[in-house]
Subunit: 188 residues, 2 copies
DNA sequence: GAAAGTGCGTCAGCTACTGACATGAAGTAG
DNA sequence: CTACTTCATGTCAGTAGCTGACGCACTTTC
């Protein structure tokens, strides 16, 4: 077996995904994953903090892309339009990741422990977006509200796109943000 | 020690809170909690599914209150105004729970595992609100979006209220929903 | 070519969590 | 009053997630 650390990491991720799909998360032990990847259990935990984390890699990449995109939006743009523009920048990455995302989806849906971790990852993105908005001069409470609401809208757009791919992700994004504007306009 | 099941449950919750405050979540074992409550570790797991769950009780109560309040809003009210009205109905409960909520807050803030569980509880509330909106005839994608966004706004109002209690929770609620409307109006 | 760094194996151990069975208190039927 | 049932708990044995310590082999660097 190759000793290259990065390759081991990839093999562990692939092995975990396969096993979770074959027998489910609960009936897969970390030892099983390590064995299929050709390493020991101890090595599994050198690459991933826990049994869930092996499933969620590349979230840091999305975070960096998003915060960079927020910073690149012309000054003076309001918070939610800023976020919408940033989300549009992520479309190629999301499209590229679709195959692996779709393989993971059923496992996450069937596993509460993985749902929890997915929520935590999303919350980390919201925190990063909040910081990015504050760096643009958005006041604290508004920044947190917009980051959270923007992320929800983004998530729903991606979800709808995954379920119905007749329209592209850009279209779904604009549609979701329009839905948000219309819904919020009904508030008095 | 009394054998009444409910009382054991309360003692376990109180013991867990005390110990988490004294030495932190990670340095507290389920055996410690059980011992302080005067029972065995096995009994702990008969009352709570896991070490985190002992910290989050009464979320079901809030869920029932919220879904009932949504159902009670006059027909024809738009989704977000419906939710805002329902959230106002929960103010007495939130105020009553403030003392215990404030004791828990620092522990949750310091413990990633508890943050994750808190997010999961919030997500469960969003799911319940989505169902409640759909029961009122709101279309699926709009219901999910509004439930999620409404919950965010609610959470932020409660958070602001906890940090600055010069205004009451009703005021913070209206303020947060106004912020939402204004932010969303900037979307073209 | 020696020294330092690194990725991995091995082993020992802790703790969260579960299943199976026993016990003993409390209520209920006869 | 006794017998039967029910139910919360105790006891015990076991699995699995996760960690620290140590040693080894391979790679890098000077």
């Amino acid at each position: 077996m190759p000793r290259n650390g990065d390759e081991v990491r990839l093999r562990l991720q692939e092995a975990a995904l396969e096993l979770y799909l074959e027998r489910g998360y609960d009936k897969t032990t970390t030892g099983d994953i390590a064995a299929r990847a050709g390493v020991t259990e101890r090595t599994f935990f050198r690459h991933f903090a826990d049994k869930r984390e092996v499933f969620f890699d590349g979230e840091a990449q999305l975070r960096d892309l998003l915060t960079g995109a927020v910073a690149a939006v012309p000054a003076g743009t309001k918070p939610l339009p800023t976020l919408r523009a940033a989300f549009h920048q992520t479309v190629p990455l999301i499209e590229r990741n679709l195959p692996i995302t779709q393989r993971r989806a059923p496992v996450i849906a069937a596993t509460p422990a993985l749902k929890e971790r997915a929520l935590a990852k999303s919350a980390a993105l919201v925190a990063a977006l909040t910081d990015a908005l504050r760096a643009r001069g958005v006041a604290e409470p508004i920044a947190a509200l917009c980051a959270q609401v923007g992320m929800d809208t983004y998530s729903i757009a991606v979800r709808r796109w995954g379920a119905d791919r007749t329209d592209d992700l850009h279209t779904h994004l604009d549609r979701a943000f329009t839905d948000l504007r219309l819904a919020a306009n009904a508030l008095k």
